[in-house]
Amino acid sequence: MSRQDALVSADWAEQNLDAPNTVFVEVDEDTTAYDGGHIPGAVKLDWKTELQDPVRRDFVDKAGFEKLLSSKGIANDDTVILYGGNNNWFAAYAYWYFKLYGHQAVKLLDGGRKKWELDGRKLDTEVPQRPATQFTAQEQDSSIRAFRDEVVNAIGTKNLVDVRSPDEFSGKLLAPAHLPQEQAQRGGHIPSALNVPWSKAANEDGTFKSDDELRKLYSEQGLDSSRPTIAYCRIGERSSHTWFALHELLGETDVKNYDGSWTEYGSLVGVPVETGDGKS
């Protein structure tokens, strides 16, 4: 993978809104953003109600994903351009999720909704009607998704990258500073994890930093690129952003996203937890 395969610029997007076999998809935490105005022609995906199983804590299964994309009018030969708010957190999560189910023709709009809005580009409230398709998914690609046992076994052996803010990493906060702090689990981080907040990979306008800047960042923070890497955050969306930077932009080969993340790990009985800044 490389930047050209994985990212499109806002300029490119604006010139390709009507390109054949190209579907723009907005993915948000707060889906009212889409309703108030979206990139013309884009369809909406709700990361919570559509991508999560409604009962168990897991993703919708293969058949469920096929049904979802078919109903959105997305076909196997379509290139999907994902974008969203929150610096593309949920768009990056959806990107990883599309790859998990084997849809390779997916790209992220660099800067997401923020850059699009700050540039003053056109937003539309018209909801496109796309005819249903027969989308077929692959079995989940387990090479990019980490589960808890693998994470516990990775302590001290693989790179664990905690991409939350320093106050979440140290255990002072349990959620990002713009969300209520209602969780009941323990605060802290997985022992041996590096703290490289996702935001260090992004510019102020939400675009990704250059490959050179990203390489410098992760090597300065102590990431050993000869070892496999597992990224995590609180619920797996910010770590998708870092997974994207490492696996899709820098081309690191063995990088997994741990979507259980801190809300799972910090609630496990008996696992080691470290507090503080991890540097002492």
């Binding site: 929150n86 809005e117 803010s165 106050d167 500073a177 209520p180 702090q181 935001s199 260090k200």
Partner: protein, 99 residues
């Protein structure tokens, strides 16, 4: 407590200002509220911590730990920032003017 110090802060149910530190305020341009601005909370070293979009009335809100914070706003009317010192639990208000 029945009344919050700032009625416009619109805190979520269950927010306990005797335990939590909440930073709120408005983004303004020449005195008028700016909705849809991207408001970023930066820590004492200038490092990004969180980001929200201001409401139609220009309001933003963060849950923060004690410390010195910079609230920086990006908008189509321009950018701006202001500092706020959070000494402990409670409500801290700071306006951010963009130009």
């Amino acid at each position: 407590m029945c009344s919050a110090p700032d009625q416009n802060a619109d805190l979520p149910a269950g927010t306990d200002l005797s335990k939590e530190s909440v930073v709120v305020g408005k983004v303004t341009s020449r005195g008028s509220p700016v909705g849809g601005a991207y408001v970023r909370l930066l820590d004492g070293t200038g490092e990004f911590t969180a980001e929200v979009v201001s409401s139609a009335s220009g309001d933003y809100r963060f849950f923060a730990a004690p410390g010195t914070w910079t609230v920086r706003a990006l908008s189509r009317s321009g950018n701006g920032q202001s500092e706020v010192a959070v000494g402990g639990p409670g409500l801290f208000t700071t306006e951010v003017a963009v130009a």
